[in-house]
């Protein structure tokens, strides 16, 4: 193999910067206010009644130069996807196309008020309508709502719809949701917010859900099952169709967590596998940026049977016009003041139009290829619980490295010094010391090879220089942070003179 000696994580001049409040100087201003061109009004009555505040205590007073330097310096402390690889399993950190950003900033979209009369917002409605159709086609389902603001809210919406479905059939006792122990934490949390009960199912020895595990719960209390496919181990749930059938036979519905759709889109349709409802993460599969934690978008796709329960307003096309439709009496209602994160939908729409059907399929194929390539190259250096064909992600653990007193956490921190964001760690919970790697299709073979080389070097360091790994990172803006102190004595806002001990 080509000897790679140059890693991205070298040091450089990164400037320190205090909190903006510490830079405040009374009388400084960074903004420009228009002149008042209407008559003055008498506010004495309002003032006398105590409606006005006297000041905004503590809000910083800085110049425009201060604002620019402050936030620019802060930005340089972040690693980002535009910097380099983020092999985060379950997150699908694929490249965020710049055309998406340009599209979202077009004034005709960015400055369009949500209550603009429909005749004057046809294009925005059209984008939403076409995106609904595209997602329905990719999902292999019949109808879509774009309203949920993130995957978790999509899950909530889906579970509310399942609950409403059973209620509409006079089966309110159907309130138990089966959830594998490998599920993302939002799955049980969303079910509970929806007012349902949860039952954890154990994953089998092979990492997949065993249909037999369902047996005790296939009765009149079953609302449905909530399952991720491929699973959070990056493995295709080989019994999916079978347990879908069993759930349906018992009167339940199948919810699929669509976080891993990047491993299926264009190749398999979840609807064909028996899925009744699923959510899609636009900020994962459809390239919209993560923004340091959001905003995302979590549309739900459903079968015809669940369509009446979708949130309102529905985006429809009738009599040659796009419009908002409110008259759906069985709808679960609203979960957003307006229609959802339109700016994110517009980015996803732009992405899908850029990719086309061939691009979508190719993305999926290459994502799976990349994950299997990494799995093959690293499996002699890191223990893998399930060494077989994976989908778009693979899960290692720290079993070999524990021998030298090194944990997954240490490996993750050392990877930063090589200039990579660490993979997902300690998830799924069913693998002790999990290290979940999802490269996505937008990474080149050279980047993957460089990442593989870095991981192998770290594996060697674990054996020969464990202290280096244990005390990593050494090159990041900050070394390991005291999370215990932050939780024991929380300081959640700045106050003059209040700093951690």
């Amino acid at each position: 193999m080509k000897q790679i000696t140059q890693f991205p994580g070298t040091s450089g001049l990164i400037l320190e910067e205090p909190l903006i409040f510490e830079k405040s100087v009374k009388g400084r201003m960074a903004c420009s206010i228009p002149r008042n061109d209407v008559p003055e009004i008498d506010t004495s009555k309002l003032a006398a009644q105590g409606y006005f505040r006297s000041s905004i205590e503590g809000l910083p007073e800085v110049s425009e130069v201060d604002v620019v330097r402050h936030f620019l310096r802060l930005s340089t402390w972040n690693y980002s996807l535009d910097h380099g690889l983020y092999p985060l399993g379950s997150c699908t950190m694929k490249y965020n196309p710049k055309i998406n950003e340009v599209a979202a900033a077009i004034p005709g979209f960015a400055q369009l008020h949500p209550k603009t009369p429909e005749a004057f917002s046809q294009s925005a409605l059209r984008i939403m309508y076409e995106l609904q159709n595209d997602l329905a086609e990719i999902a292999g389902l019949d109808a879509v709502s774009l309203q949920p603001s993130a995957g978790a809210q999509g899950e909530l919406t889906g579970m509310l719809m399942i609950k409403a479905y059973h209620l509409s059939r006079n089966e309110p006792h159907r309130n138990l949701v089966l959830i594998p122990d490998s599920a993302h934490g939002t799955n049980p949390a969303s079910s509970v917010v929806a007012g349902l009960r949860t039952q954890t199912l154990p994953s089998g020895e092979d990492g997949c859900l065993n249909p037999e595990a369902l047996r005790p719960y296939l009765n009149q209390n079953l609302a449905g099952i909530m399952v991720t496919n491929p699973s959070t181990l990056g493995l295709f749930e080989k019994n999916f169709v079978e347990f879908s059938c069993r759930i349906h036979d018992a009167g339940g519905l199948v919810y699929m967590d669509g976080a891993n759709l990047n491993a299926m889109m264009g190749v398999v349709k979840p609807g064909d596998l028996g899925v009744d409802v699923m959510h899609i993460n636009l900020h994962k599969t459809f390239s919209t940026p993560h923004g340091g934690g959001g905003p995302g978008s979590g549309p739900v796709a459903v079968t015809r049977a669940l369509e009446p329960f979708l949130p309102v307003p529905r985006i429809v096309f009738r009599d040659g016009r796009y419009g908002l439709e409110w008259n759906h009496p069985q709808s679960i209602g609203k979960i957003h003041c307006f229609y959802g994160n339109f700016g994110i939908m517009l980015r996803a729409f732009t992405y899908i139009r850029s990719m086309g059907p061939d691009g979508i399929r190719e993305a999926c194929e290459n994502a799976v290829l990349n994950a299997n390539y990494i799995k093959e190259k690293l499996k002699t250096h890191f223990h893998i619980a399930h060494d077989r064909l994976c989908k778009h992600e693979c899960v290692f653990d720290d079993k070999y490295q524990q021998e030298f007193g090194i944990s997954t956490l240490d490996i993750a921190k050392r990877l930063m010094d090589y200039g990579f964001h660490p993979p997902t760690i300690y998830f799924p919970l069913i693998v002790k010391g999990a290290l979940m790697i999802e490269p996505t299709e937008t990474e080149s073979k050279e980047t993957l090879d460089q990442f593989i080389e870095a991981m192998i070097r770290i594996a060697e360091e674990c054996k020969n220089e464990p202290e280096l790994v244990k005390h990593a990172p050494v090159r990041a803006k900050r070394r390991r942070l005291d999370e215990t102190l932050a939780a024991r004595k929380p300081i959640l806002k700045w106050s003059p003179g209040i700093y951690p001990e």
Binding site: A30, I138, G185, T186
Partner: protein, 453 residues
């Protein structure tokens, strides 16, 4: 495709490394009858120039934002966004970064969000702020749930003057947890009825939810509500949908609210057809462990340097799972950082002056319109930048006339609030010039003559 680097040689080489010969073998673990043998029925790929041309043409079919003038609020407000905001917020380091679970390489986002949390506590007068929620409606729902966790009750009372989209969302979240929602009526001044609240508090509701300024634009007497509530476990939740009003109006914390939440879209986010926006939630110190959403805290690193981390994570879904305070994971982080930049740019003086402009513009428009025959102001309460206007003829006729002349006159209230008859919710902000306001008045005059003749 430019986002997919692999050439066919790359693919061959990599497949060989795995011991496979064809891409289809990568899906051998899926029963073959489910593998699609036809391409997806979506539009074929468009080149970048074609797509830009398509999107630009499409956007021009919307309201010509350069030439039409809007007077709509109702939870989304058109404000001037200083150029430093989009300039700084276009930085890749903010836009394409992931959630700061690895704090050592995420200090930029973490400090910016810590500053956002701080500024929100300064704006609302309550000491704890989370790192954002989806939007004001969801923040209102989460605030009601927080209030019930704290008060250990199962009934909430929500003012009729809370934004209808918010009330619907609160209902969706609460209905499924066996929570009863009681509606509090409003009075002729447009404010929520204080005396009804007194009775509800005595009757043991877990929280009172009001909005100020409310959906009718009327500023509520928050201090009055707080005074009703002293000594009870009932929580006062104040929703603010027009965050800019906090530039001049007394903060909810100062007025005695226990929880202040709502929408901070006015802090530097474009209206963008309804989202992404910025839900905020602030509350008393002792509620912090019950609060939903992420929290950024200050700490030190192993070399004693100041740094920031996500903290108190045991409240959240990835640890607490079905017992979490909320199911939220991804939030509106980039929007929160945007708000930090906006607030730092505006400062207290800029906010106060801008808020004053809003007050003056709305008062001017309201007073001019009230003098035209056929137009009435049904509510007497004090306003910030929105007001209810009753118009002659029907709302549709009025709107059609105004839009034909390039003016979106306001939001139709007749569906949600039939008691106002033919009425609209009219909003004027600092972006509306004297010329635009006078044009509205002149058109309204013309319409009135035609309608009443």
């Amino acid at each position: 495709m430019r986002y997919i680097p692999h050439t066919s040689d790359n693919r061959k080489e990599m497949l060989a490394a795995i011991g496979l010969t064809g891409v289809n073998e990568l899906f051998a673990d899926i029963p073959q009858r489910y593998i699609l043998d036809k391409p997806l029925r979506i539009e074929p790929a468009m080149s970048e120039p074609d797509l830009m041309r398509f999107l630009t043409a499409l956007s021009n079919q919307n309201a010509d934002v350069g030439r039409t003038v809007g007077f709509m609020g109702g939870g989304a407000y058109s404000h001037f966004i200083p150029s430093v905001v989009p300039s700084l917020m276009s930085r890749s380091e903010f836009v394409t970064a992931y959630t700061p679970y690895q704090p050592e390489i995420s200090q930029g986002t973490l400090q910016a969000i810590f500053e956002y949390q701080t500024m929100m506590t300064q704006m609302t007068g309550l000491p704890i702020s989370n790192a954002s929620l989806y939007d004001g409606a969801m923040a209102a729902a989460e605030s009601a749930l927080l209030a019930l966790r704290v008060s250990q009750k199962s009934r909430i009372a929500v003012s009729r003057a809370v934004n209808p989209g918010y009330r619907a969302t609160i209902e969706t979240y609460c209905r499924n947890q066996n929570i009863e929602i009681i509606e509090i009526p409003t009075g002729t001044d447009g404010g929520t009825q204080l005396d009804v609240c007194r009775g509800l508090i005595a009757d043991g509701v877990g929280c009172i939810v009001i909005q100020s300024p409310n959906y009718f634009g009327v500023i509520e007497d928050q201090t009055g509500f707080a005074a009703q509530n002293t000594g009870s476990s009932c929580q006062l939740v104040t929703i603010v949908t027009e965050a800019l009003s906090l530039g001049i109006l007394k903060s909810p914390g100062e007025c005695g609210a226990d929880i202040a939440c709502g929408e901070a879209q006015s802090f530097g986010l474009p209206v963008s057809f309804g989202g992404p926006y910025l839900g905020f939630l602030t509350c008393k110190e002792k509620y912090v462990r019950q609060a939903p959403g992420r929290l950024v805290g200050m700490t030190r690193d192993s070399e004693g340097r100041l740094g920031f981390v996500n903290t108190l994570s045991t409240r959240e879904q990835h640890i607490r799972r079905e017992k979490a305070t909320s199911n939220i994971c991804t939030n509106q982080a980039l929007c929160a950082v945007t708000a930090s930049v906006y607030l730092a740019t505006m400062g207290p003086e800029g906010l106060r002056q801008t808020a004053e402009l809003n007050l003056k513009k709305a008062h001017y428009l309201r007073s001019q319109l009230s003098q035209i025959t056929g137009y009435r102001l049904p509510l007497s309460g004090p306003i910030f930048n929105e007001f209810v206007l009753q118009v002659p003829g029907t709302v549709h006729q009025f709107q059609n006339f105004m839009t034909a002349h390039g003016v979106f006159p306001g939001i139709d209230l007749s569906q949600d609030y039939p008691e106002f008859g033919t009425a609209l919710l009219v909003c004027a902000t600092e972006v509306n010039t004297r010329e635009q306001l006078d044009r509205y008045v002149a058109l309204a005059q013309t319409y009135s003559k035609e309608a009443l003749s």
